[in-house]
């Protein structure tokens, strides 16, 4: 089955990013396809490569990048939400790309299920 995932909050602030990551990983482990993970609202902060979490804590940005690298998961950051929040290509972590909201609607149309994580 094809899943789309929408992430509405930044890492460190809400568990939503963790939940979305754990769900995505579990879906891949079960052999499902992840059509796309879309980052909106403060969710765009998941893609900030400058984030340096404490060494004994998880690094969600790195975890997302690894999913893109290992499983080819399409990680899309909303351009309008990112501009407002000061996230641009210069500080974008590997595996993420910046694009329009249409990519979310496409995920809603093409994926069998769209699962939203937020505050």
């Amino acid at each position: 089955m094809k899943f789309g995932v929408l992430v509405n909050e930044g890492p460190f602030t809400h568990q939503c990013s963790d939940s979305a990551y754990q769900f995505t990983k579990a879906a891949l482990e079960k052999g499902h396809e992840i059509f796309r993970v879309f980052f909106y609202y403060d969710g765009v902060n998941n893609a900030n490569k400058l984030a340096e979490p404490p060494s004994d804590d998880r690094n969600l940005t790195a975890n997302w990048s690894a999913l893109a690298e290992e499983h080819g998961v399409d990680l899309v950051v909303c351009v309008a939400a990112a501009l407002r929040r000061g996230l641009n290509d210069d500080i974008l972590a590997p595996g993420f790309r910046i694009s329009g909201l249409g990519q979310l609607i496409e995920a809603g149309i093409q994926a069998d299920r769209l699962v939203t994580f937020g505050d």
Binding site: Y41, A81, G102, L104, I109, L114, G118
Partner: protein, 135 residues
Amino acid sequence: MSDLPPIPPDDEDEFGVVKKFCYVNRKAPYGTVYALESLEMVLIAAAFDQDVSVVFMDDGVYQIKSEQAPEAAGMKNFSKTYRALEGYDVEKLYVSKESMEERGLTTDDFLVDVEVLDHAALSALMAEQEVVITS
């Protein structure tokens, strides 16, 4: 919104599929950004020619209160964008009757025309939706 997407031509059907998209708004405007950015999502879905419904319930009913004037608090007034929805063929706007009444509001308080549904009708409406987007 500063940049409204282009109003789609009638024959647009980019993906060849029309799904029932339902946006459920349960948060008040201005205190948080969700109302504003959710509205941007609604406009885009309409531009992709999907079958869009918008539900206002709980504190989300405050989003369409008339006479919003956030300028004195230093914020942008985006409430007129709700009036623009009709131009994008987003005409299915629903309000929870119980949420509205609990807050002492009537349909006269709203800046757009809406259909008021009680819990049972709203539950039935939402049960039909294929993609539910909340914020």
